[in-house]
Symmetry: C2
Subunit: 379 residues, 2 copies
């Protein structure tokens, strides 16, 4: 298994990123990922009850169809809380793109991120789509990965390669998201492209499992977004022995996908808005994974804990209060807490609660005046 | 019904506040409330699973005993996560005070607030208690209300007077708490003294109801404290017609207590750490009170909403995202949001969700760089 800290497209994929004018700054804001071969898709979306229009359109296409070839993504506008018009706009985006490429409308998936409750400037998209398609190339990924960003200060990308027999399989992941990150994947977009030949059920199961241990274990501010989207496309172009849930290749694929998802999730936290610390919270000796994760997230989402980390003040009391507030019926004498030196940028908080043998790790950042500055005036 | 924005002791109560040295600054840090007549007590404590030693001692005394005469309160040290030693220290505090006054140990209730996980400096208390008791007076309330404060920038006090026949009943409330305020009463102390003659069940029911609509409807940072305590003492000194749950006096008493609790709760929010805004969030057309309150609290606890308020940016999207994240199955077209002008210090957010006819109001503050400054270095 080889890991590259850079996006390298799998076989038969192309990509592109351009500036369509949605972002007033003139920065790249429209991305396209394209597979020459119809691919299987597995997706996960926000659990927020208010879901952005592109998510609702994707859900519709995922019911209707089995094969997908493109993902179009805009940044700068979330197309959320935009009513029926938003739905029409998202669908129209996929239609325009499908026509420009010459594929079916419902083989195009769509994602948006940016400001909420403003209509998508469809005319700008219409004008830009021909250029977006014309520019597709193997190296377009380097623009696409920038075009999906909003307040991010760096790109999040990773490639994992492994063999099945003599065939090399590539999993390439890119992501965006720097604020509003909460468990259940708040304002986070992630696109995972692979040339693996894999059954639908194996792809879906692998994604669910990987997300649960990665994107659902990170939090910046506990705020759950309306637009979180993970889309995985598996084209089969590498012609490996078919991966299925009941054969030996599945664990290989799962392991590679886990690595990709966890690395992207950690990169998101490293770029958390205004953060000065990267904090890993490990809760051990819990009854089960859900309990361990619950306690860890309760600590991670405590503003008092987060400000203490910023102040490099090992305020154990706040950790204890957060553990107690999580609802776990734990006695104070059974709690053990260890915090690594606070002057460093990477901090490990280890908590043990004497309830059982399960364990979970959550990643978060500190809460800083810079976070407030970024979020007090976001436009 | 007459309302005074000042603590005025009911009949037969005395109080005092002194500096015992627990606070290194030399500020007042030890308070005593005393009733000449044995009084009934009703209490509410934090729902955090980790509870400070004084709360555990109070719970024991509330089981053993029926009448109470004193409340001793220290600030600067929360006596929490202090193990068996903490329990002994809290009990010893009540013992020392009871001896100094000449009453039973378990007729003394106790509360602590301040830093967690440090042992209570019992020797300082021992040396100070005689002075604390000697100085008891009708006007000592003006020192007591200061001695319970921690990061508060002003005292929280109110007095409500009303008549039952020709008897005047006084309800006097004082409170502290400026950070770590969450529903279920995070780091909040409140003492309510009244000379009303009232049955135990009426007193308990009235307190529960009032707290649910006041202290449980405020949040600063969503962090739940280990020390929250509300203690109400009713001495009966005003010799009014007995108030009971099934007679006409109950609603009068309840109304007065509601006014006192709500005013104190709002004062706590007005003094929220680093806040520049006082925000009232009213959710209407909910299925029931719990749902309305749940939605309102989810908005109130969203860091993105709070920073937007600080930035005077009416970011409706963040309110919508918070409503969706609350788990209420609401369609976006059914949501109505109204936000009052943001340049003012007092902001009203009115939300309507078309689920039913229930309504709840929650109070909160904005999230500011100053909040972080205060909490990054708390000692």
């Amino acid at each position: 298994m080889k890991i590259y800290k850079k996006a390298i497209l799998p076989l038969e994929f192309q990509a592109n990123g351009i500036a369509s004018g949605i972002k007033r700054s003139g920065k790249l804001d429209l991305a396209l990922f394209y597979s020459d071969i119809p691919a299987k898709a597995a997706c996960q979306f926000t659990s927020n009850k208010i879901q952005a229009a592109p998510i609702r359109i994707n859900k519709k296409y995922l019911k209707e169809n089995k094969d997908y070839q493109a993902i179009i993504v805009n940044s700068g506008n979330a197309n959320c809380f935009t009513g029926n018009r938003g739905l029409r706009d998202a669908e129209e985006t996929t239609r325009m793109l499908s026509e420009a490429i010459g594929i079916k409308k419902d083989s195009v998936l769509v994602a948006s991120t940016g400001i909420i409750a403003k209509p998508l400037p469809l005319l700008k998209l219409k004008k830009s789509i021909p250029k977006l398609v014309m520019g597709l190339s193997r190296y377009g990924i380097d623009k696409a990965k920038i075009a999906i960003l909003t307040t991010d200060t760096f790109t999040k990308e990773i490639t994992v390669k492994f063999n099945i027999g003599s065939q090399i399989i590539t999993i390439c992941g890119i992501a965006k998201g720097a604020g509003m990150i909460a468990p259940n994947m708040a304002t986070m977009l992630c696109f995972i492209l692979t040339d693996a030949l894999i059954t639908q059920r194996a792809l879906s199961r692998a994604l669910r499992s990987s997300v649960d241990n990665s994107f659902n274990c990170i939090t910046v501010d506990g705020c759950m977004s309306t637009n979180d989207t993970i889309i995985t496309l598996a084209s089969g172009a590498s012609r490996n022995n078919l991966i299925d849930t009941d054969n030996k290749y599945f664990n290989l694929f799962l392991k590679a996908l886990n690595i990709a998802c966890l690395e992207l999730a950690k990169l998101i936290i490293r770029d958390a808005e205004g953060a000065t610390k990267f904090i890993q919270i490990k809760v051990e000796k819990a009854k089960n994974f859900a309990q361990a994760k619950g306690v860890a997230l309760n600590i991670a989402n405590s503003n008092l804990f987060k400000t203490a980390m910023y102040g490099e003040d090992a305020n154990f009391g706040r950790i204890i209060a957060a553990i107690g507030a999580s609802g776990v019926d734990v006695k104070e004498k059974d709690i053990r807490i260890k915090v690594s030196p606070l002057h460093k940028k990477e901090i490990n908080v280890d908590v043990s609660i004497k309830q059982g043998n399960a364990c979970a790790t959550v990643y978060t950042s500190d809460l800083t005046p810079e976070y407030i500055k970024i979020n007090a005036k976001y436009n």
